[in-house]
Symmetry: C2
Subunit: 149 residues, 2 copies
């Protein structure tokens, strides 16, 4: 059809294949970690709010079934982010607390940034939940700068 390869490239949306693949790889990598971050962040919130994080509460908040939570908690435990005692609640390890702190702060910055742009609180909350995991350090810093404008 056409064979534009220089200035027109961006016009047809095709960057260099090498850089293109890198974006997708990064995105797939983010997609693998976002569930973990969601869990750890939620567990920290529940502990702060209720003093404990029970599977039923996590399941209710996430909108999934309790065995789904149980399976994921095993994964978090093997990754060293939480500690479990049978038939008891879960607790964050130091590593888990740190991940929760970083995730929560990033989440907060993203949500505040969207609100500052004039987006409604409800939409900002929903969009931030999805966007937060794909925001690099550089972009997060730009959001912070905008908030301090």
């Amino acid at each position: 059809m056409n064979d534009r390869t220089t200035a027109d490239e961006t016009h047809v949306g095709l960057v260099d294949a090498g850089t293109h693949v890198e974006s997708f790889r990064q995105t797939r990598s983010n997609r693998r970690t976002e569930l973990v971050e969601d869990y750890v962040e939620l567990i920290a919130d529940l502990i702060d709010h209720d003093g404990e994080a029970r599977q039923v509460d996590i399941a209710q908040r996430l909108g999934v079934a309790q065995p789904t939570v149980a399976k994921m908690l095993k994964r978090l435990a093997t990754e060293g982010l939480i500690q479990q005692r049978r038939y008891r609640g879960v607790f964050l390890t130091e590593e888990g607390k740190e991940l929760a702190r970083v995730s929560r702060e990033r989440h907060q910055v993203v949500e505040s940034f969207l609100c500052a742009l004039g987006i409604s609180p409800e939409t900002a909350r929903i969009d931030a939940e999805g966007i937060e995991h794909h925001v690099s350090a550089e972009t997060l810093e730009a959001f912070r700068v905008y908030l301090k404008r």
Copy 2:
């Protein structure tokens, strides 16, 4: 630990459970559709640029193996987004073209917006790839408004 339930709620990061679950449901729903959008957008780009969309090219761009692409194309075909002829390239249906158009435009707005915030083109490209699928119509409009500032 504590039992703050009113003004302090946002401080401890716990909104109402009903709204909370809705955010996560929406995010999970977005996660299911984002791969489809990635494929359709890329297929449209390849057709515009090369006149055809071959499995090997799609695979190279996405950084996955060719059989992975073949499997996904079957899904896109059953969803009515593309047409396939054995041992030939793929073509977008009208529905596929429309989805590609919408995805591509949204992608462009997100990437331009990030650049306008002062983020480097490389980071903007990577982050936009992940963020675009989680941007609601309202947020997209806010990005557009900012770009027209």
